[in-house]
């Protein structure tokens, strides 16, 4: 069975691709959490207890990788169902983007009560130190509407 989306992906086993995307997705959530904790981007940290957050994030990074390799033999040629470098790049991008969207959405919900809407935050990633992602986007849209 092959993924019918693109001819380039014809040799890829769907379960192999799904496994790879799942590994990247969960590991990426963990790695974003570790970066957010190190950079004190409180608005995107999912757990308020930082020690617990660090431990869970580290577990989230490592365990999907262990699962991916332990599940089955991963040394398979790309014409026999494995992923070549291009497939890997595409699937990594999908997993990482999904993880980023999930982190930004869930953290906006989890930290909703933590921050008041601040109207004067600069338009940069570091503003997530004092706001949730949802609040920042809401402010941008509100300011754009006012300036019309």
């Amino acid at each position: 069975m092959t993924i019918p989306l693109f001819s380039e992906f014809q040799n890829i086993s769907p379960s192999y691709a799904v496994d790879y995307i799942l590994m990247v997705f969960f590991s990426s959530i963990g790695i974003i959490q570790l970066a957010a904790i190190s950079s004190q981007l409180t608005g995107i940290i999912l757990i308020r207890n930082l020690n617990l957050a660090k431990s869970i994030a580290a577990l989230l990074v490592i365990s999907p990788v262990l699962w991916f390799f332990a599940k089955t033999n991963r040394n398979i040629n790309d014409y026999a169902g494995g992923l070549d470098a291009n497939d890997q790049a595409v699937f990594f991008l999908i997993g990482a983007v999904l993880a980023t969207i999930t982190t930004l959405s869930v953290s906006s919900l989890v930290n909703k009560k933590l921050f008041d809407t601040n109207h004067n935050l600069p338009g940069e990633l570091h503003s997530l130190k004092n706001s949730t992602y949802y609040n920042l986007i809401k402010n941008v849209l509100r300011n754009n509407y006012k300036n019309r």
Binding site: A35, S39, G82, A96, H126
Partner: protein, 198 residues
């Protein structure tokens, strides 16, 4: 003459290293993970994702994100070098002419230079030139990755050494071209800043 000498050295090193396969099953299993097409590339890509969100202030974050963009350019450049090299020269894999214990599937592309090793070295060096804290562990991982590929019987030592040289060369070119690339980076930052991601 010179080529024959290199081939002889190559063969003696790979035969000596590969003869150890089967001695320590645990080591073989670790080597199977490390030489795989996924482990080291995923570790490196996750580091790049980490760097995108890393920094104590806006300037630090921009520095980290510049490393990520430099790394992406180094992937493009190293792949171009590999593609050109493969058009000009094809080298058989060591298992085709030597009696080896393979810990990997049988790749059919050119053995020289080691493709994955060139790209991963280029990224690790790009990071190392700007940030030793994150670059050094990756450089060590890439070093182990290269040696594991010889141990697994996939590459000759000279394939790996040339990959390391090409990777380092690529990263150095990117490092010294950063001011030229900054215009492109500013456009990217303008877009990502609009969605609060830089």
């Amino acid at each position: 003459m010179y080529f024959e000498t290199i081939t002889k050295i190559d063969e003696s090193i790979i035969l000596w290293l590969n003869a150890k396969v089967g001695t320590f099953i645990f080591l073989d299993n670790i080597a199977k993970w490390i030489v795989s097409d996924y482990f080291v590339p995923v570790c490196i890509c996750l580091t790049l994702l980490f760097l995108w969100f890393y920094g104590k202030n806006t300037i630090d974050i921009m520095k980290s994100q510049t490393i990520v963009l430099n790394s992406l350019i180094s992937i493009l450049l190293s792949n171009t070098i590999i593609f050109t090299s493969n058009l000009l020269y094809f080298r058989e894999r060591p298992y085709e002419s030597l009696d080896l214990n393979l810990l990997f599937y049988q790749p059919t592309d050119s053995s020289f230079p080691a493709n994955s090793c060139t790209v991963t070295t280029a990224i690790a060096t790009t990071i190392l030139l700007k940030n030793t804290r994150f670059g050094l562990p990756l450089a060590i991982l890439v070093l182990i990755f290269g040696i594991s590929r010889i141990y697994a019987g996939v590459h000759y030592p000279s394939d790996i050494v040339s990959a390391w040289i090409l990777g380092i060369l690529t990263a150095t070119i990117i490092y010294y071209s950063e001011s030229l690339l900054s215009r492109i980076y500013n456009i990217i930052f303008k877009f990502t800043r609009a969605i609060y991601l830089s």
